[in-house]
Symmetry: C2
Subunit: 353 residues, 2 copies
DNA sequence: AAAAAGATTTGGAACGTACCAATTGGACGC
DNA sequence: GCGTCCAATTGGTACGTTCCAAATCTTTTT
């Protein structure tokens, strides 16, 4: 009796439960559970009565309790290394879009290139029962530190691959894209093509650099190490490369950059040094971020289509989840060379001398 | 007996529980729970033994089970209307940074300006036991549709305020910022200042427009409705305004734009029409996004500092959570006028005529 | 009209954790 | 040697859900 009244009061306090709904609808909690699960067993009239009760009480499903019983959470985690980079924002949006139709809701967490934060965030997602992860690893992450955290969880890596981590991987065809861009610069007449940006510990850079090397090789040009310049991967990084490129005995006349941000920084610094980009000096970036279209001169770039990348990663993850088969797969996305004003489209390059 | 062996096997299968850890460490589950909670009651040697057992088993805390017992989830949800807008990305980063030190981990969800998705996402965050929400409402959201979903949950609205929703609110001083920018344009000699961008249903636009009106008023200039132009809030929106501004009997000579994206679109279209921005025509944007510094001519803007905004919102939410006092508060963040090349800094404006 | 079959509904036992009350094992004072 | 006190540890219960086996109600068949 006492218990009854206490119960009755509690309906107002805290979160309404399945039992509260059941009492209100005059059915058992099991029936309410069936309604929640969309079971076909329950009669139409009952279903309505239960739904009404839910609305009246402002019932909110307690997923924690459900996962306890083994139910899947319906959440996939996006762990992204750098949201201040528009490229990764696009990638995240691609993931989201791919989840739209499906049964999953994506939650996003930014690691800001911090390995520690990445650990926290992954742990937190697991604790909350995320069904799977799309992971764009933070810089300097090692597979060994993540392995215990990720054990048993389906994971798709994007952009960066952690050597030693058995997990699927989605990335652009970095090497082929860089090869093609470099080949283009050579085709329009350049023989002094630089590669600017990034540091050698970055795997992605190695891939792009390999494409650059391959193109030189194919053209019979031998690699000049002084044309390969390491920089930070931000606007100012591109700027720092300018004196190094121009003060060479044989100055560079074109550059393929590690990414667009570096390329834009480089372009800006060249223009300020009085070198007209697209006329005196050709620049091609990598990633084709939104901004590439809007800088002057508009930046040519190897288009990576981050949305596509994200979307494929999400689809791959959902396939893993649906099939229960977590056998790692690799997906390489084709790139496209977007030619704009920052480099000539065709025809020979003529240096005034 | 049978039960025992089944148990023993299960240690390998599925997720290790607090009980598995306890057995391994040779203590009771209660002790493990105390270790998890960082209690000072447990002896140092025991704590170590338990920690070791956790690592060996790859134990992962099951937050769902804990929230069931009333524990707080430690998650705050960021529900953001448009992540493809760099402004809101910055805002999200500000929220994250404010959470760094605190006990909360922020999860981000993008609604892409869809009210339906917003509902889904908020529901999902509640289901997962989010302790509170920072909400940048999607366009066209009404308080009534969100009220039942948000009942009892501490919420801080950012940027947009939903009339009728009793919840805290953090926003820039839109009116004062717009007043000051307009006053500046008038002070350098303009009398035909336009206001470009947005549509009248947007509350934020109304605030900024009010500041524009106030400045005109203070300068004794009467408002010319043909100088107030509604557009979509993207790059092309700014472009569409150009003919309307220049084909007036008395053309506009300056414009305050609803936001930077519109301002950049406007600038670009003006330059293409042969009007030199910063010389023949002054433009000021709003929000001061990263890109404003990088367009040519660099865009003057009312700096809103989205990080600060996000950070204040998160701090306010955490204060609500810590105190248990959800009484709504309003926080207005000061703006700053960032003057760059797209408008003159001082001195009279002289129209060649 | 009883039995069989089908359609709905239901009680109860988990799931992994936190917390309360209770227990244990010393160390200490007498 | 006994009680007292303190520090450290422990069972047991409850949280909101799912799912199974069983119960109830309806209809159909004999």
């Amino acid at each position: 009796m006492n218990n009854e009244t206490r119960r009755e009061m509690e309906v107002r306090e805290g979160r309404a439960t399945i039992v509260d709904v059941a009492r209100r609808a005059g059915v058992s909690k099991s029936t309410v559970s069936l309604v929640l699960g969309g079971s076909s067993l329950v009669a139409e009239t009952t279903r309505e009565r239960v739904s009404d009760a839910m609305n009246e009480l402002g019932y909110i499903y307690h997923r924690g309790a459900a996962t306890l019983r083994g139910a899947k959470s319906g959440v996939i985690g996006m762990v992204i290394n750098d949201l201040s980079n528009p490229f990764y924002v696009e990638l995240a949006i691609g993931i989201e879009q791919a989840c739209q139709g499906g049964a999953y809701i994506p939650f996003l967490a930014n690691t800001a290139e911090s390995a520690i934060r990445q650990q926290q965030v992954i742990r937190s997602m697991r604790e909350h029962g995320a069904a799977g992860l799309v992971l764009a690893p933070a810089m300097g992450t090692s597979a060994s530190e993540l392995k215990p955290l990720l054990a048993g969880l389906p994971v798709v890596q994007v952009m960066r691959r952690l050597p030693g981590l058995r997990a699927s991987f989605v990335a652009p065809e970095n090497k082929e894209g860089a090869r093609r861009a470099t080949a283009h610069l050579i085709a329009v007449g350049h023989s002094r093509v630089a590669f600017v940006g990034g540091v050698s510990s970055m795997l992605v850079r190695e891939e792009r650099l390999a494409g650059y090397r391959l193109a030189l090789d194919e053209a019979g040009i031998s690699l000049d190490p002084s044309l390969v310049i390491e920089t930070t991967t931000n606007y100012s990084g591109g700027g720092t490369a300018v004196p190094q490129l121009l003060n060479l005995p044989e100055p560079a006349t074109a550059a393929l950059c590690f990414n667009d941000v570096v390329a834009i920084g480089l372009t800006r610094a060249l223009m300020e040094a009085g070198v007209s980009v697209g006329v005196d000096f050709d620049v091609i970036g990598f990633d084709d971020i939104e901004e590439a279209r809007h800088t002057r001169p508009a930046l040519s770039s190897v288009a990576v289509n981050p949305r596509d990348l994200g979307s494929r990663a999400a689809q791959l993850l959902m396939r893993h989840l649906a099939s229960g088969d977590f056998e790692p797969q690799a997906v390489l996305c084709p790139t496209a060379l977007a030619l704009r004003k920052s480099c000539r489209a065709a025809g020979p390059y003529e240096r005034d001398n």
